[in-house]
Amino acid sequence: MNRLLLRNADDADPGGSWNRDPEGIQTAADRSRTARVGLRLFLAVVSSLFFLFLLAFIARSQMADWLPLTDPLAPLANPWPLWVNSAFLVLSCIALQWSRMAARQDRLDATVMGFVVGGVFAIAFLTGQVWVWQQFVAWGYFVASNPANSFFYLLTGVHGLHLLGGLIAWGITVVKFLRHVPLPQLRVSVELCTTYWHYLLGLWFVLFALLTSTPQTYEAIARFCGLR
């Protein structure tokens, strides 16, 4: 035992495979990289949030009182409004991606144009989502009438709030563009907004697919997850 302890005492600096000397990664690490790391971590948090929402969705969908929104007479039997909204979000992401690429090439006008158009399409998406909510209400599909409705409002609402948060960041960046802040200082904001938008687009398609799936699909997922 004595020898073991002494050996450990001699092992003064364990180093190891993670012994990454920060001086060795000078070129890659800068402030924008830090912001990107922060955003990725945040996206991990959002993923955890929606993963848990979706698990709750699947678990709750297995109860007897669940009335699917995809029934022939239900609002999502023909989900064309959601397809239109999805198209808005896709266009929004394309515009932002265009803006990001222009920013990398130092083309200010194209950057601003793409960025603004991207935001406008995102606002169109949110407006479309609110319109779908109104349609639900008009059809008598209120938030508390059935758990399927409740989840529809909840999931689209939380997704919309995340996009709204992104639009605040977008708005701040637009104001900076209007104040003629130089492009190199705003490149990171454009990059971060674009990444965030792409993530929310992917997330939206997951939600879209799930919300418009059949009860048989829910049952299969529930069985796979051990929830049934």
């Binding site: 302890l5 450990n8 005492a9 003064a12 600096d13 364990p14 180093g15 190891g16 993670w18 012994n19 990454r20 000397d21 920060p22 001086e23 990664i25 000078q26 070129t27 890659a28 690490a29 800068d30 402030r31 990289r33 830090t34 790391v37 922060g38 971590l41 945040f42 991990a44 948090v45 955890s48 949030l49 848990l52 929402f53 709750a56 678990a59 709750r60 109860m63 007897a64 009182d65 669940w66 938030v143 508390a144 758990p147 409740s150 909840l154 939380v158």
Partner: protein, 591 residues
């Protein structure tokens, strides 16, 4: 690293007025103190609530205002405040904020503005929570687990306003914790100074780092359950609410699953235990190493144990639900994972003991608290093995044995580390020493007192005394001797509660009147003790960031004058120190 170099050249949100220096501060040290003071304040409220409960249990009817509803409200608020608003906030927002940048050699957190927002969101969460005391019906009395359907069904105290405020407060707290957590993790990943590799970080940083990652991933479960329950309460949905008849009336809910809430709650709730425990593990490792003048035993094992505990803590949640009627195979699975998580945890305890073994132990106040933590955590951990087994848990479930267990393992044990940590870093934060005699008095009353409180509860639990009862007299199955023991526990609890004023007085007095501490009164090797100023000034390090050459545990190093080597000392400088020391000794022999 480039970030570090940039930090050397750029001005850092320099405060220009009293307001930006002390109130709307973006400095991690000020934010840490704001977090700590708020958490300690709200923690004192929770202590008062627990003493009120104890008065009711020990001497039923002694408090005129204490009816069943008030009792349950006090119980709920006590539990929630202690777990979330005191321990989580203090370990991550307080210790995390203060120590991470100083220990990794950064000037501040990487997102200072978000860090500031984190504190203000936390404060709003606390205010919303405390507002529950002032609304009609008072705060919720549904127990800290807030289980539906009872938490939002008439008959439970605080069902009108209290539960809504509680859920909203939790949601705001989670936003605050997320903003803080993003900062802590990104700072550790991106803002370490030259030479500060991950495997040179002190275990305090490792503990807080891992706990922050867990908080980021686990708190969403509480957020999800809080939002869905708010929908059930305010909009009449049925996520968790089954068809139910309440007070003779059929409610409008149907089909909801209360068990779903329990799964979501405990998917957060069990990692939460380790969100509190891992920072405590880290801090206590540093305290023991410093005050035993010995390098931490098995540093790498300690790091991997922290990571393993963090990962495993996500697959043990349902051991809180053995009596919920879930599938027995689930119980088997979760009992196995619960026993597995005991392995890395036990490894840490062994390593602390081996660090102490043949160490030059200084029984300072922080060290006393650290030693008390090891013993207390061991006791609480061992009873956890009992409760982790389904067949033992079922008869003990909902008895005082459970109350004793969780208070020992995640109440008393982390609080001992909180005190130890505050006493240890107080000289760095204020530049002054605390009063040693008062500190020791505080320690002995707290340590012995908590044992006098919680040890007998194990016995009461074995006797079958159930938890959550408002009064225990006039039950045939609870003997008179149990009631006498309850009275004894209450007397001790009041003594321990009042003795915390010793701590408050000691800290408040020492901030202004304590003896000057110097820059490194404990002779500690880690980076935070090597700042050019004590207390560290804005930006922490002066013109140049420190360069790290070694780990944080070089104690009792032979051949040099002082018995420790700071992390900033290079191999060449160490050699010079050795030669200087040898030269001095030769000169001594000659004279």
């Amino acid at each position: 690293m480039a970030y570090a170099e940039q930090a050397e050249t750029e001005a850092l949100h320099e405060p220009k007025s009293f307001l930006t220096k002390y109130i709307w501060s973006q400095d991690h040290k000020v934010i840490a103190i704001q977090y700590s003071l708020t958490a300690l304040f709200v923690g004192l409220i929770a202590v008062v609530l627990s003493d009120l409960m104890r008065l009711q249990i020990g001497f039923p009817g002694s408090l005129a205002f204490m009816d069943a509803n008030t009792y349950y409200q006090a119980m709920t608020m006590h539990g929630m405040i202690m777990v979330i608003y005191l321990l989580t906030a203090l370990f991550l927002g307080g210790f995390g904020n203060y120590l991470i940048p100083l220990m990794v050699g950064a000037r501040d957190m990487v997102f200072p503005y978000v860090n500031m927002l984190s504190y203000w969101f936390y404060l709003v969460a606390v205010l919303v929570l405390l507002a529950g005391f002032f609304v009609p019906g008072g705060p919720t009395g549904s127990g800290w687990t807030l289980y539906p359907p009872q938490s939002i069904t008439k008959g439970t105290p605080g069902v009108e306003w209290g539960i809504v405020l509680m859920l909203v407060s939790l949601a705001i707290f989670i936003v605050a914790a997320t903003m803080g957590g993003l900062n802590y993790v990104t700072t550790v990943l991106q803002a370490r100074t030259h030479g500060m590799t991950l495997f040179r970080m002190p275990l305090s940083v490792w503990g807080i780092f891992m706990a922050s990652i867990m908080a980021l991933l686990a708190f969403p479960a509480l957020f999800v359950s809080a939002v869905m329950m708010l929908f059930d309460k305010l909009l009449g949905t049925s996520f968790f609410m089954p068809a139910i008849i309440s007070l003779g009336q059929q409610l409008n809910h149907q089909g909801g699953s209360p068990i779903l809430f329990q799964h979501l709650f405990w998917f957060f709730g069990h990692p939460e235990v380790y969100i509190v425990a891992l920072p405590a593990f880290g801090l206590v490792s540093d305290l023991i190493s410093t005050h035993a003048r010995k390098n931490i035993f098995g540093y790498r094992m300690m790091v991997w144990a922290i990571i393993a505990i963090g990962v495993l803590s996500f697959v043990v949640w349902a051991h809180h639900m053995y009596v919920s009627g879930m599938n027995p195979y689930f119980g088997f699975f979760f009992a196995v994972t619960t026993l597995i998580i005991a392995v890395p945890t036990a490894l840490k305890v062994y390593n602390w003991v081996l660090t102490l073994w043949r160490g030059d132990i200084h029984l300072t106040v922080p060290m006393l608290f650290a030693l008390a933590f090891i013993v207390t955590f061991l006791v609480g951990g061992l009873t956890g093995l009992f409760l982790g087994n389904v067949i033992v848990d079922i008869p003990l479930s909902d008895t005082y044995f459970v109350v004793a267990h969780f208070h020992m393992v995640m109440g008393v044990a982390p609080v001992l580390v909180v005190f130890g940590g505050i006493y240890h870093w107080f000289p760095k934060v204020t530049g002054r020493m605390f009063n040693d005699t008062l500190g020791k008095l505080h320690f002995w009353i707290t340590f012995l007192g908590t044992y006098a409180i919680f040890f007998p509860m194990h016995y009461l639990g074995f006797q079958g005394m159930p938890r959550r009862y408002y009064a225990y007299e006039n039950y045939a199955f609870i003997p008179q001797s149990a009631q006498e023991l309850n009275a004894f526990i209450t007397v001790v609890a009041l003594t321990v509660g009042v003795s915390q004023l010793l701590f408050v007085f000691n800290m408040a007095w020492s901030v202004f009147k304590g003896k000057p501490a110097g820059s490194n009164p404990w002779g500690a090797a880690s980076l935070e003790w090597q700042t050019p100023n004590t207390p560290p000034i804005h930006g922490n390090w002066g013109a140049k960031l420190p360069v790290v050459h070694r780990w944080a545990y070089d104690y009792s190093v032979p051949g040099i004058e002082q018995d420790f080597v700071p992390q900033t000392v290079s191999a060449e400088e160490l050699e010079q120190m050795r030669q200087l020391s040898a030269g001095t000794k030769i000169a001594d022999v000659k004279t």
